[in-house]
Amino acid sequence: MEKKVLLSIRNITKVFPGVKAIDQVSLDVKKGEVHALVGENGAGKSTLVNIISGVLKPDGGELIFDDQPYAPANPREAQARGIGLVHQETALCPHLSVAENVFLGRMPYKAGGLVDFKKAWLDTKKLLQNFSTDLNPKVKVENLSVANQQLVEIVKALSQDCRLLILDEPTSSLTDAETENLFRIIGELKERGISVLYISHRLKEVFRICERITILRDGVLVKTLNTSETNEEEIICQMVGRNIDHLYPAKKGGNGEEILRVENLSGQCFRDISFSLKKGEILGFAGLVGAGRSEVARAICGIDPLETGQIYLNGQKVRFNSYYDAIRARVAYLTEDRKNEGLFLKMSVVANLVVTSLRDVTHHHLVQQEKEQALAARYVEKLQIKTADLFQKMINLSGGNQQKVVVGKWLAIDPVVLFMDEPTRGIDVGAKTELHYLMRELCDRGIGIVLISSELPEIIGMCDRVIVMNEGCKAGELGGEEITEQNIMRLAATQSDQSA
């Protein structure tokens, strides 16, 4: 039984100055179908989504929605036709309540022009009940978890009689349990005949919930495949345009001498953490979001305050009162929030690469342009950062290349210990693999790396040893063959009674 086509995209082309962002793309989304859109960063996914949701106008081709020609002039028109978009980063008003967000710009009125809060609360409650959640419509959005904020966005889209829901990287900041819940919701939507266009880097998820997969590469549609007739390997090949033989480099660390040891660390969000890190080793920090992994790293580096505990670097007791002290001791923390905390988006590649080592490119306290450019050029070359030139603004680089710049700025201080917090989040498969190989190469040169990641395959593929954290405590340590998905999840998700 063939399903009816809901949205038909026909030969859509969009040209930006000098670049064809998408070129003659055609695809159909059927009614009640979950359709995946995959591709590396810069493949044209966002452009296509922006055209469908009325943000951009195509330069060629046409859209047919529900058998009618469809050319939205703006996002509001797209919403009115029944197309809802949930962005990667939620676009809600944090100071307003759930109900006010759901009915943003469409709050129900009482006679006399006063807002009818009671009706808004009741209606929101009804909508939320469809998702079997007990979210309170009166709660301010800023007090919700990322997962619940996303749910509010979905509810908001559905409240406008949405028939095609576009989800852009919906799981990138969700925990596994929250992801499961999202999948359940998607399943329910499907049963109600709502189509979902699902954009994700995470192929495992795509294979679980999508019926068909469309692959974009460099703005061109490579293929649309039925999920049942393909596999991850094939999709990756099509996305990258080449074979990736070894997704992860071979493990070989763990035999060097100890470089960092911490004992009984306690801080605001964690208690009694002890571990050691060897030269050339990749130590994983696994656990659910909010387990306190980033907090431990930040406290060791002197970014957040540390309450008690000892830190030994190369056998010497140290205490970093500020992050600057840690950097001088060549211990660095690579933030999980690339855009807000890692980069100066409006500044050049050079400026972003030299920020940590300004004093190395000076002469008599003055910055020497030749020196800073030479330093930047060295890391652009070493990390194969794709940029038109050194003076390109960061905002013009792709996610993967931006992340390489962040890595580069820390390599510039010649680190001995590097905490990498979600270093491959939101970057494409090709760049991810490059970064993984780079991390191993750094280890070979004697750096100790602590890898904080919420992606279990990454932890399992990369780490020589793994510490699993649970509610601010160290739940266990795994090494060698013990590093498996089951073992990690058992430690990460078990409710611990002894912590009380």
Binding site: F16, P17, G18, V19, K20, D218, G219, V220, G241, R242, I303, S322, Y323, Y324, A326, I327, Y333, T335, N340, E341, G342, L343, F344, L345, K346, M347, A351, V355, T356, L358, R359, T362, H365, L366, V367, A388, I395, K409
Partner: protein, 337 residues
């Protein structure tokens, strides 16, 4: 291996090369401003014979120096992503303090020194609350603006202090000339040259750009953000005090009304010169050109016998036009992402 990517690289490379030197020069804000200023000057010299005269140009230059020195500090504050509303009042306070001390029998140079220190302290207080405590720069400097202005009125009981019989040496720094060049303009130029160099080249000032561009990322790159912020407000306060002392020397009168809305003129000049209120952008040269353009317009109104009341109206229109041109020329880029 990846033909379309290569093509894209070639295309974008090609377009930059096709752009001539001229269009690239016009992309630099300072160059366009310079052309506008020269255009205005040429137009003005045809409209009135009094414009291109030594006395007129000298007076205009001395007149803009006081605002110019304040605008230099304001540029750095804008690069930081903040601004200092208290500079006009601090300028008045420093003049008033030097004046009252002198009238109380203190040597004028010592009095000027103390006034300078008071300006620095005002800056440090702003810096402490903004940098260490984390208060909002608008509120903090708005408060300091009121405090410094109020203190000036208290000290003078509201009326100007005349510094009769002040030493020639002190009068020289604000009113003297070297080879026909007014001292005040020379001091302004010296500050401009030093600050321009320092802003572009010194490590400390580079850190100001980083903090202005992204404060969180700067902190997570090991930059001591609160120290940088404190330093910037120390600088704006210091330059405001210097401007106040020079003005005192020029007029030998300490008025509590000195520097009225100088902070607004300085912010306008810097923004016209390309500084951004959202931080991370701005040059000293831009602020100089902005100050010159505003002074030129003022001069034109006087020479053409237009009521001086038109000045604020026209300044406002120039400010909005400058920001508008900037916005329109950048908008295509915003739309892309």
């Amino acid at each position: 291996m990846n033909p379309s990517l290569e093509k894209q690289a070639v295309q974008s490379g090609g377009t930059t090369k096709q752009k001539g030197i001229l269009s690239r020069a016009f992309a630099i804000r300072e160059f366009s401003l310079l052309i506008i200023i020269i255009g205005c000057a040429i137009l003005l010299s045809f409209l009135t014979p009094h414009f291109l005269t030594v006395p007129n140009l000298t007076t205009t230059a001395i007149g803009l120096a006081a605002d110019g020195i304040i605008a230099v500090g304001m540029t750095v504050a804008l690069v930081l992503g903040g601004f200092d509303l208290s500079v006009g009042s601090v300028m008045a306070l420093s003049g008033v303090i030097a004046g009252s001390l002198y009238l109380g029998g203190v040597n004028i140079w010592i009095a000027a020194g103390i006034a300078l220190v008071v300006g620095m302290i005002c800056g440090l207080i702003n810096g402490y609350f903004i940098g260490r405590v984390g208060l909002n720069p608008f509120i903090t400097t708005l408060g300091m603006m009121s405090i410094a202005r109020g203190a000036s009125y208290v000290l003078t009981k509201g009326s100007p202090l005349s510094l009769a019989g002040i030493s020639k040496g002190f009068k020289f720094i604000g009113g003297g000339q070297i080879f026909g060049f007014p001292m005040m303009v020379l001091i302004y130029l010296l500050i401009v040259v030093i600050m321009d160099f320092v802003l572009r080249r010194s490590v400390v000032m580079r850190q100001v750009f980083y903090v202005g561009s992204n404060e969180k990322a700067a902190a997570l790159s090991g930059i001591n953000v609160s120290k940088v912020k404190t330093g910037v407000f120390f600088l704006t306060g210091t330059l405001a005090a210097i401007s106040g002392i020079l003005t005192l020397s020029r007029f030998t009168v300490a008025t509590p009304n000195a520097g009225m809305s100088a902070e607004m003129r300085a912010i306008a000049a810097c923004v016209i010169g390309g500084a951004s209120l959202s931080g991370g952008e701005g040059t000293i040269l831009g602020s100089v050109l902005g100050v010159i353009l505003l002074a030129l317009v003022n001069n034109a109104l006087i020479l053409l016998n237009v009521s001086v009341y038109w000045q604020d109206l026209i300044t406002g229109m120039i400010l909005i036009s400058a920001v508008l041109v900037d916005f329109l020329s950048h908008r295509s880029r915003f739309l892309r992402d």
